[in-house]
Symmetry: C2
Subunit: 374 residues, 2 copies
C-alpha cells in the first residue's frame, strides 16, 4: 500500500477525529475509496476502536432514488439508531464518476434528504470528519493526471497540522479583536463588519470544530457588507460553471450582480430568500498544499492566497450566544484570488498583502512602487 494512504488514514483518525479505544466509529466508504477504507480500518484496529463500514456508492443511491416513486419514510429507526449511538462518523469520498447521479430528478433527492433530516442531524452530532480519497474520476474532474492528482490531494491533506493550526490562531486572534475587514484586489474593494463575531480556526480537527480533511482556513460571519467584489476563481455552482461573478453590496445586501458565465445560477442563488442576498461567511484560505483550483469547494476554498465569501447561511460557531446571523436555505461559496495586487486589512492594518501574511517572509509593510494601485 502507498505510504501516503496510510498517512492519510492516520491523519484522519488521530489528528482529525481524535479516535480512542472503545469509540464506536462508522466509516462511510464511497465506491472508489476502498484502499483508504482498508488503511482506516487498520488504524482503527490499532487504536482499539469499533468499526461499522457503510457503503455510500452513488450508483446504489441513484438506482434507489430513481426507483422510489413513493413518499420516503421519515428518519428510519435503524439508520437513526446507528448514528445516534455512534461516537464518530468518517466519510471517505471518492467515487468513480462525478456524474453518477446526474439523472436523478433534483426534487427526488431533496425529498429524500428532507425525510432524513434527523439522520443527518444525528450524524452531525458525532465527531464527524469528511475526507476524499483520490480517484481517477476526481482527477478527471480536476483536469489532472491520476498521478498528479494524488500528489495534489496528499499535499493538501498531509500538512503539519499542528504548525498550521498555530499560524491560523494568529489570524483568528486578529479577526476576533477587529471590527472591520477590508478586502482589496483587482476588481474588489469590499468592507464588512466582524465586530462581536468569533472566527473559527479550521484546522481539520474536531477539537477545532473543523470537520474536513483537508481544511486550512480561518472563517467568520461578517455583516454590514459594502462595496464591490469580483470572484475570479472558476467555480461550479449547482452543477453549472460560473466565471467572474461581480457583486455590489450596500448596507449588507447585494444590490447588483453580474457574471461573465453562469449569471442565471447566480441570480437563482441570490433570489432564494432574504438571507441569500447577504454574506454568511468570510473565509481566508491558508493551506499552502493547495496550489490551484480544481472545481471542488472542499479544496478550492482552503487554497492559500484566496479569500472566499459565502452568500447565505452563517455558521453558528461564529455568532455570539443567542444572536442569529444570516439565515438562509443556501450557503454558496465564491472565491477571489489574493496573490496579485491585493490586500486584507483589519481596522486599517494590512494583515495580508499579495497573498503573504504579515508574519511571512517577503511580506511588505508598505507597498513598493507598482504593487499597489499603479
Amino acid at each position: 500500500m502507498d505510504d501516503r494512504i496510510r498517512d492519510h488514514a492516520e491523519t484522519l483518525v488521530d489528528w482529525s477525529a481524535r479516535i480512542e479505544a472503545g469509540d464506536d466509529v462508522v466509516v462511510r466508504v464511497d465506491e472508489g475509496a476502498h484502499d483508504l477504507a482498508v488503511a482506516v480500518a487498520e488504524t482503527l484496529g490499532e487504536r482499539g476502536a469499533n468499526l461499522v463500514t457503510v457503503a455510500t456508492s452513488e450508483e446504489v443511491r441513484r438506482a434507489y432514488l430513481r426507483a422510489h416513486g413513493a413518499e420516503f419514510d421519515t428518519d428510519p429507526a435503524y439508520e437513526l439508531a446507528l448514528y445516534e449511538e455512534a461516537d464518530s462518523v468518517l466519510t471517505l469520498g471518492g467515487g468513480r464518476n462525478t456524474a453518477a447521479t446526474a439523472d436523478v430528478p433534483a426534487d427526488r433527492t431533496q425529498r429524500y434528504d428532507r425525510a432524513r433530516e434527523g439522520v443527518r442531524e444525528a450524524r452531525l452530532a458525532t465527531d464527524w470528519v469528511s475526507t476524499v480519497h483520490p480517484t481517477r474520476s476526481l482527477a478527471q474532474a480536476a483536469g489532472m493526471s491520476y498521478d498528479a492528482y494524488r500528489e495534489f490531494v496528499y499535499d493538501a491533506a498531509l500538512r503539519d497540522w499542528e504548525a498550521l493550526a498555530e499560524e491560523m490562531a494568529r489570524l483568528k486572534d486578529i479577526l476576533d479583536a477587529g471590527s472591520e475587514v477590508r478586502v482589496v484586489n483587482e476588481g474588489t474593494d469590499l468592507t464588512m463588519s466582524v465586530d462581536g463575531r468569533t472566527a473559527v480556526n479550521s484546522a481539520a480537527s474536531v477539537v477545532y470544530d473543523s470537520h474536513n480533511l483537508p481544511s486550512g482556513e480561518v472563517f467568520t460571519a461578517p455583516y454590514d457588507t459594502a462595496g464591490v467584489v469580483t470572484f475570479d476563481v472558476p467555480m461550479t455552482v449547482r452543477g453549472r460553471e460560473v466565471r467572474d461573478v461581480k457583486l455590489t453590496f450596500k448596507d449588507g445586501v447585494v444590490v447588483d450582480w453580474e457574471a461573465r458565465q453562469g449569471e442565471d445560477v447566480v441570480t437563482e442563488v441570490i433570489e432564494t430568500d432574504a438571507g441569500s442576498r447577504q454574506l454568511g461567511e468570510l473565509g481566508i484560505g491558508m493551506n499552502r498544499g493547495i496550489d490551484r483550483p480544481t472545481g471542488r469547494t472542499l479544496f478550492d476554498e482552503k487554497m492559500a492566497g484566496t479569500v472566499h465569501l459565502a452568500l447565505g447561511r452563517a455558521y453558528e460557531a461564529c455568532l455570539p450566544d443567542g444572536e442569529s446571523g444570516t439565515d438562509s436555505a443556501v450557503h454558496v461559496d465564491l472565491i477571489t484570488d489574493m496573490t496579485g495586487d491585493s490586500r486584507i486589512e483589519v481596522d486599517g492594518d494590512v494583515v495580508q498583502r499579495n497573498g503573504l501574511f504579515r508574519w511571512e517572509a517577503g511580506f511588505e509593510e508598505e507597498p513598493t512602487e507598482g504593487t499597489d494601485g499603479s
Copy 2:
C-alpha cells in the same frame, strides 16, 4: 445491466425476503457484489423499502482484525442497534479473493466473532437472506470460466421457486410421516431415525424458514444412526480439501472413520465434543440448476441427486418443542452422490432411486437388472 442481475435482485427481495413498503432493510455488500447491490437498491426503491448499505469487504476486515491486538468490545451499541431495529438483512457475498483473510490468525477471528455474538443474534432475528454475486474470484475457486460460472450461479438461483417448493413439500411430508430413513449407494448403507422430527422445506424464502438463495433442499434432524457412509463429493473443510470420507456409525455415534485426503481435519471435527460424533442434519438436495460441485457448501449441498449429512449441531426448526437434538460447537456438512446405483428409502419404501424421485419421469419402482447390487 445484465437482466439476470435484475432477476436475481427481484428473486432475493420478493421471493426470498418478502420485502414490503416501509421495511427497514440492511444490505451487506461484499467488495465484488456492487452490481448486484445496484439492482437490489433499485428493487427496494420500487417496493418502497428503506435502505442502509453496509460494506463487508474482507480486506477491510482483515486489516482491522490484524491490527486490533486488544480485547474486542462486546456487541457495540451502535452496531447492535442497527440490526435490532432492522426488519431484513440481505447479505450479498462475492469477494475478489477467496483467500483475502488467509493471514488473519484464527483465534483473532474467533474472539471477534464471540464478542459480537449479540450482533449476530440480532441479525439472525430479522428476515435475513444470504446470496452470492458471481465474481471472477468465485469462478476461479470453482475452477470455471467467469462466463460459465455466472451461468452456473443464475441457473441455481433463478429457479421456478414456487414449483420447486411444491415438489419439496412432497418430500417433507414423506419424511415427517416416516420413522426410518435408509441411504444406500456404492460405499454407503446407513439407517437413521427421523421419528418425531420435522423436515424443513428449504425453498429459499424466509416464509419457509429458509435463508439462502439459492437453496433447494429438504433437511431434517436424524438420530440413532447406524451403518456406513462414504462422502464422495469433494469438499473443503476449514480451508482444507477432504476426499472420500468414510464414517461408520453405531448407536448414533461415529465409531470409526477414514478419508483418502484430509483425514486429520475430519478427526479434528469429530473429536470436537460429544455432539460432533453424531449427525445433526440429513439434507436431500433438490436444486436441478446445480449440476456440479464447486467447493462451496451453499451450492454443493443443494445439488439435485445428492444427500448431505452434517456432523454436529441440529437445527432447532427440526426438533419438537422442548426437545434438544444434537448439540455441538460444530456443524460440518459432507456430501454423497446419489445419481449412481443409489436409493433413499423411508420405512422401506423407495423415495428416490439413482437420483430420481418416485414422482419423476424415469423413476423405476423396481430396479431393473444391473442397476441394484449387481
